[in-house]
Symmetry: D2
Subunit: 139 residues, 4 copies
């Protein structure tokens, strides 16, 4: 059981390791299964905007990556088509964690809620995303 | 007139040059005035996701930066609070251009539509964003 | 040409006249063609919320109906899957007009921007919607 | 304690009873407290669109009313500024229930997630909303 989980995690890590933007932004896959993913990103100076907080684009990228891992965990390619993010608190330092959970899935579409937390477990942003589920296998 | 425009552009470029994430992603301010901005980003391999198209987070970052330049052009700090993006076409190569235009503004809030185009002038993504207008000066 | 347009308008009016909620809210189809629609709604006391302005739900309904008319003008059923609305100005009296324009369309999905204006031609709300295009004919 | 809760519920019901659109659509406040609200709506033929399912505008209206009750429970006026809804399943018959929960609140802004369920406890739609918190008392 545990070894199967490790294997799956290794496979998805291999997929994400080929995702240049995910690597470039320093995101890491902590856990995932079908319809669920947890991704972390240590805040680095490259993530900051001109007033010294994490750029909204970096926050969106983190949430979008969690959405992608949760949706692609089924083994077929899903692509984000419509996403919404609301920003609640500025991120400044430490590690950010995004948790994606599926709210619905059918043949062609699936929806996810993603919450981003900082080290104080305060919610930084809430993200809602919809994916289109293609038939082609992920790898 | 033209020299005043050049001066303003130089000032906003100076502001954005202090935005680490904007530099890190390779975005460039082409033009802006109050309520309007045009930002470009040459697609580089760092922007790509695991299936070889520009990561949704990189597209959002480009649109969010255009929103920020248009909103901050008034000289006081505006921060994005709620943003929505719909993805229409995958970006793969060439240069992406984001154009932000203001749809409303009042004392505390302002809204913007941002369209992202590729080199074929096809729309890649449509973005709708709302900012909260703080009273503090930008610099 | 003009008679063909009248005929199409009559057909879509017949479809919308079978839409109970559209009738119940007092909306009227003014014009439409593939990817475009214009719908009006005279503000009545039934549309108002407890503080005397048009309820956000009534505004969304107007925009969503414009989206539906624009998307269904192709003659096959399209259903809204993800919509976003930003409210800019309160509606209080007179007639509201929603104009929907297509921003993208492919085999399965299409996207629309809808602007709602009041009698002063001030923008009341901006709406962004995505539809899923079913294969079944509209009637 | 219980009598205080009954009193609060009666007050908010009085506020919503002055909301014409809420009455017109047949919504009912079941429960609420600061940052939380539960609203129901029995599906009637007036809510249906031309293909016989609940109009997206009626669903949005239900969610928006739940958002309003949760946000206005503090006793000062809050108005929705940016809302997003994703539709997952068609509503056809029975009673719909919307539950709004606060995800953040500060001096000027607050955010809410609203889930709409049908009688089978299937999620019909997920709604994310942001309000601007005015200083004026609700009544």
């Amino acid at each position: 059981m545990e070894s199967k989980k490790s294997e799956r995690l290794a496979q998805m890590r291999a997929v994400l390791s080929k995702d240049n933007f995910v690597s470039y932004c320093g995101m890491e896959l902590v856990d995932f299964h079908e319809g669920y993913a947890k991704i972390t990103m240590n805040i680095r100076k490259e993530h900051l905007n001109f007033f010294g907080t994490v750029h909204g684009g970096a926050l969106f990228s983190l949430a979008d990556t969690a959405l992608g891992a949760a949706a692609n965990a089924y083994g077929t390619l899903s692509v984000a088509i419509a996403c919404n993010i609301q920003f609640m608190k500025a991120g400044t330092a430490g590690c950010l964690t995004a948790i994606a959970e599926e709210t619905s899935i059918n043949h062609s579409l699936a929806t996810y809620l993603v919450h981003i937390y900082d080290d104080d477990e305060d919610e930084i942003a809430t993200f809602q995303g919809m994916v289109y589920r293609k038939k082609q296998p992920l790898v």
